[in-house]
Every structure is written in structure tokens, then in C-alpha cells.
């Protein structure tokens, strides 16, 4: 009797946790939709208002150039939000057997320009016989996001070194990605790291959205992500695949 009550309580608690988590994600999502779309539309509105009262040709040209930039950013924002919605709504995911080593090598090749620019050293320590069942598009995007993030936030004081390794924890394949970059003050920024709190207008920096999408994809595959970081020492992400 007692045991069954315990497991019932445990199941209830798990459901509660799940619903709370989903709720939090929805609130976060509606906040970002409201904020990020509005920041673009309010700029568009102001530009149009100014165009209506301005006769100066140089100023009109300037305003039109800005209108083009805002329209591109708006398009980019919508694209990103669509991607997030797609992750939340797809019910049956295409699963394939993936060679982890090969996928990492592929993304290293995609990022070769950025890697060269920062003179970064990417060490793929995954043995080439590790196979996982995963959605290929998600896995590509996850590797790309974490790698490009590690390169982008590398320290200019030392050569960037990024190490990818596989460990097996409780029957689960865990991919760790460690860097010696700028690091994150987790006490202050833990909730911001995977959230969508930061704006990503102007296209110049898509900070925030990449990790948010990755986290959603990892969770859609029933995995989870852990992070350890020390300011100015580096960051390790552990992805439970």
C-alpha cells in the first residue's frame, strides 16, 4: 500500500515538474515574442512617421536604409521564433543512427573560417565507433551551436581550445564540450543562459537564441543539459543525448 502511494506521489510530482517547466517555457516564449517583435515594429512605425514629415532627400535615404535593416531583422526574428515553435510542435521525430565523431567533424568543417580566424584548436576526442539514435538535424544544430558559441566567447588572452568527449553515465551517452573561454558567471546569469531574455536585433549578434533552440531540441529528445563554468577559465556543457 505504502509503496504504491509513494510511486503515485512520485509520478504526480514528476508531472507537476513537467507542467511547471512547460509553463515557464511558454511564458518566456510569449515574453520574447512580445518584446522582440515589438522592438522591430515600433522602429518601423517611427521610420514611417518620420518619412511622412521629412522632405530632405538625404534624410529620407537614411531612413529607407534603416527600414531595410529593420525589415531584415524582423525577418530573422520570425525565422528564429518559427524554429522554436517547430521544435515544440513536431510530435514524431525522425530518428536515425548517427556516428557522433563524423557529425562533429562535419560541423568543424562548417565552422572552419571562424576557427581559423580565432586560431582555435578543436579536439574531437570521441572515438569513431560511438553510435547514437538521434534526430540528425537536431544533432547537427546542437553541435554547431555549442561549437560556434565556444569560439565566439573565447578569450583573447590565450589560444582557444575546445575539447569534445563522450562519457557513459547511467546507460546514457553524455557529450561534453569544454572550452577555455571567457566563462559565465552562473550565479548571475544561470537563468539567462538558455533563456530568451536577451534581444537579438540588428543581426549582429544572435546571442541567446542558439542555446535556447539547442536546449529545446535536447529536451525534445528526452535529454538534458548541464553546465559548469568559471569566469575567465572556461565552460563545460554536458549534453545528455
Amino acid at each position: 500500500m505504502n509503496t504504491s502511494n509513494d510511486s503515485l506521489e512520485e509520478r504526480l510530482n514528476n508531472s507537476l515538474k513537467l507542467v511547471t517547466e512547460q509553463n515557464k517555457r511558454l511564458i518566456n516564449f510569449s515574453y520574447i515574442v512580445s518584446h522582440n517583435l515589438r522592438s522591430h515594429t515600433s522602429n518601423i512605425k517611427t521610420i514611417i512617421d518620420l518619412l511622412q514629415v521629412t522632405n530632405d532627400q538625404t534624410e529620407r535615404l537614411e531612413l529607407l536604409t534603416h527600414l531595410k535593416t529593420v525589415s531584415d531583422s524582423l525577418d530573422n526574428t520570425l525565422h528564429n521564433l518559427n524554429e522554436v515553435v517547430a521544435i515544440q510542435t513536431v510530435k514524431v521525430l525522425n530518428i536515425e543512427t548517427i556516428n557522433v565523431f563524423n557529425y562533429i567533424e562535419k560541423e568543424i568543417a562548417v565552422l572552419s573560417k571562424e576557427i581559423e580566424l580565432k586560431k582555435a584548436s578543436i579536439i574531437n576526442k570521441v572515438s569513431n565507433d560511438v553510435l547514437i539514435n538521434y534526430n540528425p538535424a537536431y544533432f547537427e544544430s546542437i553541435i554547431f551551436n555549442f561549437l560556434s558559441n565556444a569560439i565566439k566567447y573565447s578569450s583573447s588572452e590565450r589560444q582557444p581550445v575546445i575539447i569534445l568527449e563522450i562519457e557513459f553515465i547511467q546507460n546514457r551517452t553524455v557529450l561534453s564540450i569544454s572550452d577555455n573561454g571567457l566563462g559565465i558567471d552562473l550565479e548571475k546569469n544561470a537563468d539567462k543562459l538558455f533563456g530568451l531574455n536577451k534581444t537579438f536585433h540588428g543581426n549582429k549578434d544572435a546571442k541567446g537564441i542558439g542555446l535556447f533552440i539547442s536546449k529545446n531540441q535536447i529536451e525534445a529528445m528526452d535529454g538534458k543539459i548541464e553546465v559548469e563554468s568559471t569566469l575567465n577559465i572556461g565552460t563545460t556543457f554536458k549534453i545528455h543525448l
Binding site: 515574453y31 515589438r38 515600433s42 517611427t46 518620420l50 536577451k198 540588428g202
Partner: protein, 137 residues
């Protein structure tokens, strides 16, 4: 019309900065508009004005969602200086967020005179300059 010396705008959206400068110029209320794209540089520059007893902007428009530090962290760092020096300034939040949590948080800061939702029109700029003059003359 009475004019004030300086309006300072802190926002990491460079297009908004360009537009608000035009709006403030068109409203004709201020002699100068100081724009800051980076909130950390803005903090340094405003702290310096207080420490050197220079001319502090009468009106500050501050964004919430910014890179580096957000508007709240910005205020938490700047306000002690403003309060200790008894600086006369009107701080307004200028955000595209209509979320209740942001508006409520703004209410917890007595130093914040108001919450402006973007887009900001020149009428609004006139209104807040008048308010500043009513309070300080």
C-alpha cells in the same frame, strides 16, 4: 518654449538611437542628445559627470533588455551616486516590452519617473520635459 540642456538615451538598438535623436530634435525641447549604445560606457560616463560635478543630463531614457548589463543592473549601479550627490534628473524606462513584470518592476524604483512603451513620439518627449520643468523650477 523652455528647453533643457541634455537628454541622454541608453539603448543597444542603434536604429532606435538614430530615430529617437530625430524625434527629440524635432520636438525642439533639448539642446543636446547624448546617445549610448553600450550601457557599461554610459555608466562610466554618467558616474564621471557626478564625480566631477559636471552637467548631468536632465532626462535619461533607459532600455531594459540590453547586452552586457540590463537596465535594472544599470540603475542599481548608478542610483547610489545620483542619490548621494542629490543630482536632479528624471529617469524614464523606454522599452518595447509591454510585459506586466517589467512595468511592475519599474514601480519598485522610486527614482523611475515613468515607463514609456516604444514607439516614442515627440509629443511624449514634450510631455516629460514639461514634467521635469514643473518639478524642478
Amino acid at each position: 518654449m523652455n528647453t533643457i540642456q541634455t537628454v541622454c538615451v541608453i539603448d543597444d538598438d542603434t536604429i532606435f538611437l538614430y530615430l529617437i535623436k530625430k524625434i527629440i530634435e524635432k520636438s525642439g525641447v533639448s539642446n543636446a542628445t547624448v546617445l549610448h549604445e553600450n550601457p557599461i560606457n554610459a555608466l562610466e560616463s554618467l558616474k564621471k559627470i557626478i564625480l566631477e560635478q559636471g552637467a548631468f543630463p536632465e532626462i535619461i531614457l533607459l532600455d531594459i533588455n540590453m547586452h552586457h548589463i540590463d537596465g535594472w543592473e544599470f540603475l542599481d549601479t548608478l542610483l547610489p551616486y545620483v542619490i548621494l550627490a542629490g543630482t536632479k534628473t528624471s529617469i524614464y524606462i523606454a522599452s518595447s516590452s509591454i510585459a506586466a513584470k517589467d512595468k511592475l518592476k519599474a514601480k519598485t524604483y522610486p527614482a523611475i519617473k515613468g515607463y514609456l512603451v516604444k514607439p516614442i513620439k515627440s509629443e511624449k518627449i514634450l510631455e516629460i520635459t514639461n514634467e521635469f520643468q514643473l518639478f524642478n523650477n
